[in-house]
C-alpha cells in the first residue's frame, strides 16, 4: 500500500483544486463521531477518500457523496451504537464510584465506551451531552418505527394511503382557495381595483361589456385612473404551438394593451404590449405565463425576442409574466392560461358583442360608490344620445369581492367537503388501529 501512497503523492494533488467538504457534513460528523483519535481517524479516512476521488476525476463534485457518507457514519456512531440500551439506562442512574483520590463522584458507566485501544484514553465517560442522548432516543424511535412498518407493511401502507387521500384533498382545496379568498390580489394597490360589470348578476354575457362601452367610459369618466379589460370568452379559441419540441395546444387570453399596467404587473422579462401589436391585424405578439415558460422552455430567458409559431403564424414572444401573477387562478379558476395576446380596442372587436371583462383602477379619493354614480351618469347620457344603443350598463364592484365573491359559496362547500373527507380518513384510521390493537 505504501507504493500507492507514493503514487498519489507524485500526482501532486494541488490543494487549491480540492473542493472543501460540505460544512454541514463536517459539523454533523463533529457532532456524532466519538471525540479523540477514533473520531479523528474515521473522519480523516473519509476526507482522504474524498480528496482522492477529486484527484482521480477532476471537475466532478463529490460533495453529495461526502454528505451521504457522513450521514451514514453519523447514523452508526451518533445514533446506532454509541450508547447501548444499557448505557442509556445508566444515563439516568449514575453509579457512585470511589475515584483514585478517594472521593465519591457520580459516574455513568457506558457499556459501549470501554477502553478500546492502546492509545485511547480512559473511556469511562462521565456525562453524555443532551444532543447525543436526544439523538439516540430519536434513532431508537426511528428504528422501532421501521421495524414496526416492516412487520405490518400492508397495514401501514393502507394507513398512509388513507391519510394521503385526506391530506391530498385538503391541500388541493386549499391551493385553490388561497389565491382567491385568502391572499390579497397580487397587484399593486389592489384595493383601488374594481370590476365593472354590465349587470349585477347573470351569465357571463350578461356581465361582460362591449368594447365601445370601454372606449366611452374611458373618454367620459372622472373617477378612474384607467379602465382596461380582457376577452372573457378567451377559452373559445386555442393556439397550436409548432416548431421545436412536440406540438401543443395552448390557451391564451386576449388582453387590452394597458391591462398589465392597470393591474400594476410588470413582466418578469421583456416588456408589455405596444400600440403596433394592439391594433386589429397588428404585429403578432405574446407574453408567456411563468408556468408555461418554465414548463415548455425550461425558464430560458433567451426565448424573449424570439419568434414562435402559433396557428402557423410567426409570433414574437415579447415578455414573461412573473410567477406571482397567475391569470387563471385569479380570474378564471380551473382554466389553464399559457399566454396573453393583445386584444385591440377597436370597431372590429366591438362588433363581437359583449366580450369584455372590464377592470378599472380608481383615482385617489374615488370610491366604489362615487365611481358607480359617475358611470350611471355616463350610461344615461349615452343612452339618451343613442336610444337604440344596446349593451349599455355598469355595475362597479371591488375586484377582490368580485373574484372571491363569485366562488365563495363553492369554495366553502369544497372546504367543508375536504374537511369531511379528512374526518372520515381519521375515523377509518382510528378504527383500523383499534381493530389491530384488539387483535394484538
Amino acid at each position: 500500500m505504501e507504493h500507492k501512497r507514493e503514487d498519489r503523492g507524485s500526482q501532486g494533488p494541488r490543494t487549491g483544486d480540492i473542493e472543501a467538504p460540505p460544512r454541514i457534513a463536517e459539523a454533523f460528523l463533529r457532532w456524532t463521531l466519538p471525540r479523540g483519535a477514533t473520531g479523528e481517524s474515521v473522519k480523516g479516512d473519509l476526507d482522504q477518500e474524498y480528496r482522492e476521488l477529486q484527484v482521480s476525476a477532476p471537475g466532478r463534485s463529490y460533495r453529495g457523496w461526502y454528505l451521504g457518507e457522513a450521514i451514514k457514519l453519523g447514523l452508526v456512531y451518533g445514533i446506532g451504537r454509541r450508547v447501548s440500551v444499557r448505557g442509556r439506562e445508566a444515563l439516568w442512574r449514575p453509579r457512585r464510584r470511589r475515584d483514585p483520590l478517594g472521593s465519591l463522584s457520580g459516574e455513568i458507566r457506558l457499556g459501549s465506551r470501554r477502553p478500546s485501544g492502546t492509545a485511547s484514553t480512559s473511556l469511562s465517560v462521565g456525562i453524555r451531552t443532551f444532543g447525543e442522548s436526544r439523538m439516540t432516543s430519536l434513532a431508537q424511535d426511528a428504528r422501532y418505527a421501521v421495524r414496526e412498518i416492516r412487520g405490518a407493511f400492508r397495514f401501514y401502507a393502507f394507513a398512509a394511503l388513507i391519510i394521503g387521500l385526506g391530506v391530498g384533498a385538503n391541500t388541493a382545496v386549499f391551493s385553490v382557495m388561497s389565491p382567491i379568498m385568502l391572499r390579497p390580489l397580487p397587484f399593486e394597490d389592489p384595493e383601488e381595483l374594481v370590476w365593472v360589470a354590465r349587470r349585477e348578476a347573470g351569465g357571463m354575457s350578461s356581465v361582460t361589456s362591449r368594447v365601445s362601452n370601454l372606449r366611452d367610459f374611458r373618454a367620459m369618466n372622472e373617477s378612474f385612473e384607467a379602465l382596461t379589460g380582457y376577452n372573457a370568452f378567451f377559452e373559445q379559441r386555442s393556439y397550436n404551438l409548432a416548431g421545436d419540441g412536440l406540438p401543443e395546444r395552448l390557451a391564451g387570453v386576449d388582453v387590452a394593451e394597458d391591462f398589465l399596467d392597470v393591474l400594476g404587473v410588470r413582466p418578469l422579462i421583456g416588456r408589455n404590449f405596444v400600440a403596433e401589436e394592439s391594433i386589429w391585424d397588428g404585429r403578432p405578439a405574446v407574453i408567456l405565463t411563468h408556468g408555461f415558460w418554465t414548463r415548455r422552455f425550461g425558464g430560458d430567458p433567451g426565448i424573449v425576442g424570439r419568434s414562435i409559431s402559433l396557428n402557423d403564424q410567426p409570433t414574437e414572444v415579447v415578455g414573461i409574466l412573473p410567477a406571482t401573477f397567475d391569470f387563471g387562478s385569479i380570474f378564471t379558476p380551473g382554466a389553464r392560461v399559457d399566454l396573453l395576446r393583445p386584444f385591440p380596442i377597436s370597431d372590429e372587436t366591438d362588433r363581437m358583442g359583449n366580450t369584455l371583462a372590464m377592470i378599472g383602477r380608481l383615482k385617489p379619493g374615488a370610491s366604489v360608490a362615487s365611481a358607480q354614480a359617475d358611470l350611471d351618469l355616463i350610461v344615461s347620457q349615452l343612452q339618451d344620445a343613442d336610444p337604440d344603443r344596446w349593451g349599455l350598463g355598469a355595475v362597479v364592484l371591488g375586484l377582490q369581492d368580485q373574484i372571491s365573491g363569485r366562488f365563495r359559496p363553492a369554495m366553502l362547500f369544497l372546504a367543508a367537503a375536504a374537511g369531511a373527507v379528512m374526518l372520515v380518513a381519521c375515523a377509518n384510521l382510528s378504527n383500523l388501529l383499534l381493530a389491530r390493537g384488539s387483535k394484538r
Partner: protein, 109 residues
Amino acid sequence: MSRSFVGEFEQMVLLAVLQQGDSAFGLEVRREIEKSANRKVSRSAFYTTVDRLVKKRYLEWTEESPRDPYRTATVRKFSVTPSGMNALRASQRALKALARGLDQLLEEA
C-alpha cells in the same frame, strides 16, 4: 475455545489487518478487503466491525502520524492481538473441519 469464534466479516477484517502488516490503517484495511473479497465494503459496516473487534480485544490500535502528506488527521494503525489470533485460528480450524471432504463439492460450487 468454543466462545472464541469470529464471524465472517470479522475474519475478513482480521485477515486484512494481518495482510497489511505495517500499513494496516483504516482505509487501507478496508481497501484490502474490497480487493481480496471483490466486494464493496460499506464504511459503516467496516468501522462497526472494527470497533466490535476492539471491544472484544481481538484488535488494538495505535495512533500514528499520517503518511499521506495532505492528511492532517490522526490515523489508527491496527494490529491483531494474541486473543484475536486465537479466535481467528479457531474459526479457521472450524471452517476447515467443516469443509473436510467437501473439496470437490465446494470447488464445483
